[in-house]
């Protein structure tokens, strides 16, 4: 016999019912999440007993009808509790709260929504308006509005990441420019000799820019590969830790295009500035004469 505490998340989110496992014929079914199934060693077809507390003497026997996988929802990441989906009357029985419901979700689809609602609605907002008009004591919100409200924290985090990204890019650009200037300056004598034997300023600038942009392209390709590998490791690790399909680090084609494009542009610009600095110096001065 296995006992455990869990959080029920169905139409209403509450805490504390106990599921009690025993080999009995199932009558009705419930759904449990993957994490609970793994922790308790449950599988579809097993029977459990629903009771409000671990020590409760009675409870309804139900079968495991489905094992659900958690959605890729960032707000669920830090939650270590289990999820059990039960029927509304079962939930009422477990909580002892009767008809007192804090909140619930309505999903409209063909044949599911009431005629009155369906006739009056065309958009999610007007569905909410219709419900607010019909139902007393409820306030309805479209799913998008709820999502916006719940993701406010993540928008702030996203802005923070964006700011870090911009600072990193600016710092990298300055660093890249300094490195390019130093590396090109190490070739003063070579460039001076090339100028002395008749290579034009344009040729020198073009060569330095070509080299800088090729290095930038190669560097960004290696960086993208490293980023993809690091992203895969991060996702693998945290998806395991939090038992979620959520991807924690993303390397999208758009991000790759921005990274490589920015890198090449920076390479070209830094190469150009470094080369200009050299070709504006007299060849004799470059070779130290």
């Amino acid at each position: 016999m296995v006992r455990w505490w869990c959080t029920l998340t169905g139409a209403v989110i509450l805490t504390a019912p106990v599921a009690h496992v025993q080999a009995q014929p199932a009558r009705r079914t419930i759904a449990i999440d993957e994490r609970l199934a793994t922790a308790a060693g449950l599988a579809v077809g097993d029977s459990v007993r629903l009771a409000p507390t671990a020590s409760a003497p009675t409870g309804a026997w139900v079968g495991i009808g489905a094992i659900t996988r958690r959605s890729a929802d960032p707000s669920e990441i830090a939650r270590s509790d289990y999820r059990v989906r039960v029927h509304l009357d079962q939930l009422q029985g477990l909580t002892g709260l009767g008809d007192r419901i804090g909140r619930f979700a309505v999903m409209t689809r063909d044949g599911a929504a009431g005629a009155r609602v369906r006739d009056r609605v065309a958009t999610p907002d007007s569905v909410s308006a219709a419900i607010n008009t019909m139902a007393f004591g409820f306030r309805a919100y479209p799913a998008a509005a709820v999502a916006v409200e719940t993701s406010a924290t993540f928008r702030v985090v996203n802005r923070f990441h964006r700011a870090i990204g911009i600072i990193t890019i600016v710092a990298s650009a300055i660093f890249l420019l300094c490195i390019t200037l130093l590396k090109v300056d190490e070739r003063r004598r070579e460039v001076g000799a090339l100028r002395l034997i008749g290579l034009s300023r344009t040729t020198v600038v073009r060569s330095v820019m070509l080299e800088a942009s090729l290095i930038a392209l190669l560097g960004s390709a290696l960086g993208a590969g490293f980023g993809a590998a690091a992203s895969a490791i991060v996702n693998w690790y945290y998806q395991g830790v939090y038992a979620t399909p959520l991807r924690f680090a993303l390397v999208t084609p758009g991000i790759l295009a921005i990274a490589i494009g920015l890198s090449v542009v920076l390479g070209i610009v830094s190469g150009y500035l470094a080369a200009q600095r050299l070709v504006r110096t007299a060849p004799l001065e470059l070779v130290g004469r």
Binding site: A193, L196, I197, S200
Partner: protein, 240 residues
């Protein structure tokens, strides 16, 4: 190229620098004529103006006044772009420190001025092989400078200087970085080049190199104080 045809003609050449606000003349009214096929060694104490003169002859620097004609072209009046082009096609340079591109092979170093002069790839590859064979490095065309000795690097530099068939080969202390034996080999190479028709002007402190030249010019305080022809020109030189 026919002997006794002036490749280089300088008239009252002057070059002054401002040192602490005061003009100092490194070359003072120097006149000089170099015939096709000559090998001229310019010698003199440090600070006598020989390197300044070489820079003027090579269109690297511009005289303050005077006239300088190379192959009939007034180098003193050339702008930067024209002078750069002239250095590419009209003059070959050999430096004391070789100045080879470390990432390029010997053949690629020789091809570099030809590539800049838009010589077709097949032609410049053949010319590079020919020149490297001429300087005794036919078997080391794919070696990079760090794989070559100092003498071999200087030979590559000589081959590079000859790549675009210049009218004049200028060498600034070409044996300065070489040991005695390698220096002798370099002198022998210059001698062979000259006998094959290359007009050479060298600036040197190396007495042996100066003795090997056909003509030795002594400079002091920016002027020529002595000009000796040691060996007359050969009657019919072959082109290098």
């Amino acid at each position: 190229m026919t002997p006794s045809h002036p490749v280089l003609s300088a008239r009252d050449l002057r070059r002054a620098y401002l040192v602490a606000g005061a003009p100092v003349e490194a070359v003072r009214g120097l006149s000089l004529e170099v015939q096709a096929g000559e090998w001229v060694a310019i010698v003199g104490p440090s600070g006598c103006g020989k390197s300044t003169l070489l820079n003027l002859l090579g269109a690297i620097d511009r005289p303050t006044s005077g006239q300088l004609l190379i192959r009939g072209r007034d180098v003193a009046r050339m702008g930067d772009v024209e002078a750069t082009r002239f250095r590419l096609t009209g003059i070959g340079f050999v430096f004391q420190r070789f100045y080879l591109m470390p990432t390029l092979s010997a053949a690629e170093n020789v091809e570099l001025p030809m590539a800049e002069a838009k010589v077709p790839r097949a032609v410049r590859e053949a010319r590079a092989r020919e020149l490297l064979t001429y300087v005794g490095l036919g078997g080391r065309t794919d070696h990079r400078p760090f794989q070559l000795s100092g003498g071999e690097q200087q030979r590559v530099a000589v081959a590079r200087a000859l790549a675009n068939r210049p009218a004049l080969l200028l060498a600034d202390e070409p044996t300065g970085e070489l040991d005695a034996r390698t220096g002798e080999e370099m002198i022998a190479l210059f001698d062979r080049l000259n006998r094959d028709g290359t007009t050479i002007v060298t600036v040197t402190h190396d007495e042996e190199l100066a003795q090997a030249a056909r003509r030795v010019i002594h400079m002091r305080d920016g002027v020529i104080v002595d000009d000796q022809v040691r060996r007359p020109l050969d009657p019919a030189p072959r082109s290098a």
